[in-house]
Every structure is written in structure tokens, then in C-alpha cells.
């Protein structure tokens, strides 16, 4: 499968003190809905801004559509649409006027009817000629998406697109992402702190923390029940780990993720009752056995921030 985005060793330092993104490498394939996950301040927005050439990387390389970004910026941007954090637009203009401006800036010549149709697609046809300053946050977000799509881009970057939206707005965005990907065959990179939303739409994902990649892979692998990650807490986790390593369960223990606070194992969810029984038989004082079903659990574990979300 061809890569739409190929990032290698991307680093961004602000001044000498702060490294926002540190040696980040990942690739996004054609047709992917690529989830970009991380806490606030993890480096997601900085990375997306580097992908859009709004921020110059300190080092590393970015290729989009197989072309180096810096040398082919204009050609690449013909095929890219983006919504970056909070929706931005000219509030003293109407929705139609905003869309018309960004259509012209994208080098796309669209008729009045075509523009109105695009506003209709995002549910704003009735408010097309109202000033944007009278819009709710959700309406602005929908207009921002229409503006990002006006040049019919092949790659769409959405940075926190559900910020400030009500549940209906969030569902609308989710459906839109699925439609863009599955019906229109677009490649979408979407970042969000609403992990459950990403879980529902992403085909591949990356989790970053403090600017570094923690994990990247197919969603189906990360959510594969035959590879469920289980967090076990016992009275003495270090001793219990030693005991487990001498049994048939040894191959399931994730040593690098285990600590004195918990033991991490990866196994088929169907084996959980047997594991529990064996632990008791071994005389291990089990306090809890918690399968991490959702991406949110997974995310919280590996970024070690239980208070997050």
C-alpha cells in the first residue's frame, strides 16, 4: 500500500529548552483514517503544523504524496485540506463569502450553486448568508470542514475536530470522517483527545507522549481480543512476575511494561478464567485482573496518566 505521508526522524525544538516533537517517525497509507493520539502538549498539533509547513522542523524529513514537502509545497497543498484546532474564519463575512474566498484561494472556480451545495452537505444551507459571528461553535466547525474540503483534497488533516462540540456534533464529525474515508476514498489524519471517538473511526493509529512515539499500528491489532492486554495487581508484583516467568504463562508476560505496580500480560481474552485460576493455584495474592479493552484504557496505561480524560 502506498504511503501518503512518510515522516522520518521529525524533531521540533522551540529555543534551547523545549523539545515539542522528538525524533518522530510514522507513515500514513492511502485510504487510512489515521488516529493521532496523545495528551494535551504531547506534540500532536506541532506535528500537524509541520505537516502543513506552518512550522519549520528542526530536523527530520516529511514526504507527502511521495514528494519532499519543503521542495514541493505548492503542489502538495493543492491536494490537502485541514481543520486546525478551533475553527478559524472571517467572522464579519457570511458562510457563503468565507467559502467563496477559500475556494478562490485554492485555485478552484466554483459556481454559486456549487458553493451552496457544499454548505448544504455540512447542513448550513439555511444559514449560508448569515454572518459567521452569529454561528454556534458546532456550526463554525462544520463550516471549517466545508472550507477544508472545497478543493476536493485527497489528504485531510483534522486537528482536534470535535473540540467544543455537543454529542450530536461529535457524532456528525465521526460520520463525516467515515464517509470521507469509506465512500470517497480520502486519506484522513485525525487527532483528538476524545479517544473513544478515534477508536470508532481509525484504521491505524499512533500514540505519542512528550513528543515521542509510544506505539503505532493497525487498530485491529491494538483492539484484537486475541491480543488483549491485561493489567494484574497482586500483593507482591515483583515476586509474582518471577513465579509467572517459570510457568507456561511466561511468553504472555510483557516484561517491558510490567513494574512493581502491576504486571502486564497479553493473551486471548478467552484464557482469562484459566489465568485467574492458575494465579490462585500458585498462591499469588491477586488484587485485580483488568483487561484493557478500549483504546482509552490502553492509552492511559502507556502514558501513565490515570488522571487524564
Amino acid at each position: 500500500m502506498s504511503s501518503v505521508i512518510q515522516v522520518q526522524g521529525l524533531t521540533k525544538k522551540f529555543g534551547h529548552q523545549f523539545t515539542a516533537v522528538n525524533d518522530l517517525s510514522f507513515s500514513v497509507n492511502k485510504g487510512d483514517v489515521y488516529g493521532f493520539l496523545g495528551q494535551n502538549g504531547a506534540g500532536k498539533s506541532t506535528t500537524i503544523r509541520m505537516l502543513l509547513s506552518l512550522i519549520t522542523p528542526t530536523s527530520g524529513s516529511i514526504e507527502i504524496f511521495g514528494m519532499p514537502l519543503q521542495a514541493n509545497r505548492a503542489a502538495i497543498m493543492q491536494n490537502v485540506g485541514a481543520v486546525i484546532e478551533k475553527p478559524a474564519m472571517y467572522e464579519y463575512l457570511t458562510a457563503y463569502q468565507n467559502l467563496k474566498i477559500f475556494s478562490a484561494l485554492s485555485g478552484v472556480s466554483k459556481t454559486r450553486l456549487q458553493l451552496l451545495h457544499e454548505l448544504d452537505v455540512v447542513g448550513l444551507a439555511a444559514r449560508a448568508h448569515d454572518l459567521v459571528r452569529t454561528f454556534s461553535q458546532g456550526m463554525k466547525q462544520r463550516l471549517a470542514i466545508a472550507m477544508a474540503m472545497v478543493n476536493d483534497p485527497q489528504l485531510i488533516l483534522l486537528d482536534e475536530p470535535t473540540n467544543g462540540l455537543d454529542p450530536q456534533g461529535i457524532a456528525d464529525i465521526r460520520n463525516l470522517i467515515l464517509q470521507l474515508s469509506r465512500v470517497q476514498g480520502k486519506t484522513v489524519l485525525v487527532s483528538s483527545h476524545l479517544l473513544s471517538e478515534i477508536e470508532q473511526v481509525a484504521t491505524r493509529l499512533i500514540i505519542i507522549d512528550k513528543g515521542c512515539k509510544l506505539v503505532e499500528g493497525d487498530s485491529k491489532d491494538l483492539f484484537d481480543k486475541s491480543k488483549t492486554v491485561v493489567a494484574i495487581q497482586t500483593l507482591n508484583n515483583i515476586e509474582a512476575t518471577k513465579q509467572l516467568m517459570q510457568t507456561n504463562w511466561a511468553s504472555h508476560v510483557l516484561i517491558d511494561r510490567s513494574s512493581d505496580k502491576e504486571i502486564c500480560m497479553q493473551l486471548d481474552e478467552k484464557l482469562l478464567p484459566t489465568l485467574h485460576k492458575n494465579l490462585v493455584e500458585m498462591g499469588i495474592g491477586v488484587l485485580s485482573v483488568k483487561p484493557m479493552h478500549s483504546l482509552e484504557d490502553y492509552f492511559l496505561r502507556i502514558t501513565s496518566t490515570p488522571s487524564y480524560v
Binding site: 519549520t56 474564519m89 472571517y90 474566498i101 485554492s106
Partner: protein, 291 residues
Amino acid sequence: MFSLVQVELYKIFKRPRTYIAFGAVAALIGIIQFGLKLDGKSYLDFMLNDLSSSLEIDGKILNGYLVCYVMLQLLLVHVPLLIALIAADMISGEANMGTLRLLLIKPYSRTTLLLAKFIAAIIYTLMLLVWLAILALFGSMLLFGTDDMFLLKTSYVVLLKESDVFWRYIGAFGFAALAMTTVAALGFFLSVFAENSIGPIVATMSVIVFFTILSTLNIPIFNIIKPYLFTTHMIGWKEFFDIKVNASNEAIIGSIQNPEKIVKASLVLVAHTIGFFVATLLVFRKKDILS
């Protein structure tokens, strides 16, 4: 490029703030014209107080040409503020609204975008001056009529024939356009450093006030830098109204007393405009857009 300039102009002229400048110019000119129409004689008596005993003046002194000159002296000091309102907002205003990032992900280089914005700012500046010219010159010509132009300078008087005045105004407004373009370039340059409009607008005016004070201070140590300050040359439009005299002390129609001064002032202003734009470009091309 053309479509980018069109978009920039569309945004400028859709914004209510833009019309403050046009409204302010119209209001000020209207008030001055109203005052002079009603009580022009008192103004003239006051102006000619020292000369009334030594000169006999015939004809219509308070005519459209003189009224326009009086207004330009007053207004061209304040027009920079009105220009700064738009020019200093061109980039910082977009950063404040968050739209700068949207513009910069479109398939244009930063240089092209900046050039389009600068051209739009210059067009706005020129339109404001055309508006000023229509109201101050043509409006006054209509209201007060035309005649020879009598100007009272610090140590001498200038008398320009009616037929010798109009082209001087074209030159003066052309020069004013250069001076105001320099102001626009300064505002544009300062705009690149901020993420709200107030800072660059105030900074632009502060720089102009500061340099103007330096330009007018009669302290020898500052004389070295005065010729290089753009503010020293902003009043160069007045040179169009100084006329050469021959050996018999007769005015030479169609002449300017010191054309070299106008050329030099124009070059300093153009150099500043180019300098400010190049500096803007250098900063903007490397700027990380975090707004």
C-alpha cells in the same frame, strides 16, 4: 497573484473598520470647509495680520486651492493613523482570527501571499488619498472657486498663477502617496511580530511620532541622522508649491524651486518602503505559525 490581491481587497472592503478612515477624512474635511465657508474672512485676517500693512492683495485669496493646501497641512499628519489601522492589521489581524494558518496552507508561497497583502494595503492607501483629493481639492474648488494661489511661508510669500496650480496638486498627492506607502510598509512590517492589531497600530504611530520629533529637533547631534529618517521627508509635498524666480525676481511659471529635494525625498521614502517590505519578508518566511 491577481486573485490573491482580489481576495485581500475583498476582505479589506467588507470590513466595517475600513470605512472609519473614509468617514473620518470626509468628516474632517467637511468641518474645515464648513468653518472656512462661514468664517473664512476672520481666518484670512488672522493669517495676513502682519502683511496687511505692507501688501495690497487683490482677488479671491480664500479659493479652493488655498483651502485644499490648508487642509493637507492639517490632514497629512493624521492620515498615517488611518493607514496604520489597516496596514498594521494585515498580518496580525489574521493571526488574531486564526485565519493566517488557513491562508498559509493554500498552494501559494509565503512571499506571494505577503506581496498580495502588501499590494492590497497600498491600493487601500491610494484609495484613501484619492478620496482625500476628491473631497479636499475638487470639493473645495466647487465650494470656494479657483483663483491665483497665495501662500504665506515662514519668511516669504508665494504667488502661483491659477493656471500653474493644478499640476502641482497632482505632484503633491503623488508624493503624499509615496510617503503614505512608507507608513503602510512600516505598519505592515510591525504587523508580522504580533498576534493582535492594537500593538502594531500603536507601535506604527509611536515610531512616526518618535522620528518626527527627532526630525524637527534642532539639536546638532541629531542632524547627522535627520536626512535618513523617512519622517524628515514626509512633508516633501510642500516643495511642489515653491516656485523659482528669475533675476528680476519674477516667478517662472511651471517651475519648482528645489526639484532635487523632491527627488531625494522620494528616493529616501522608496528606500524605506523597500527596506520595510524586505525585512517583513525575511521575518515572515521563517516565522513559525503558532496562532
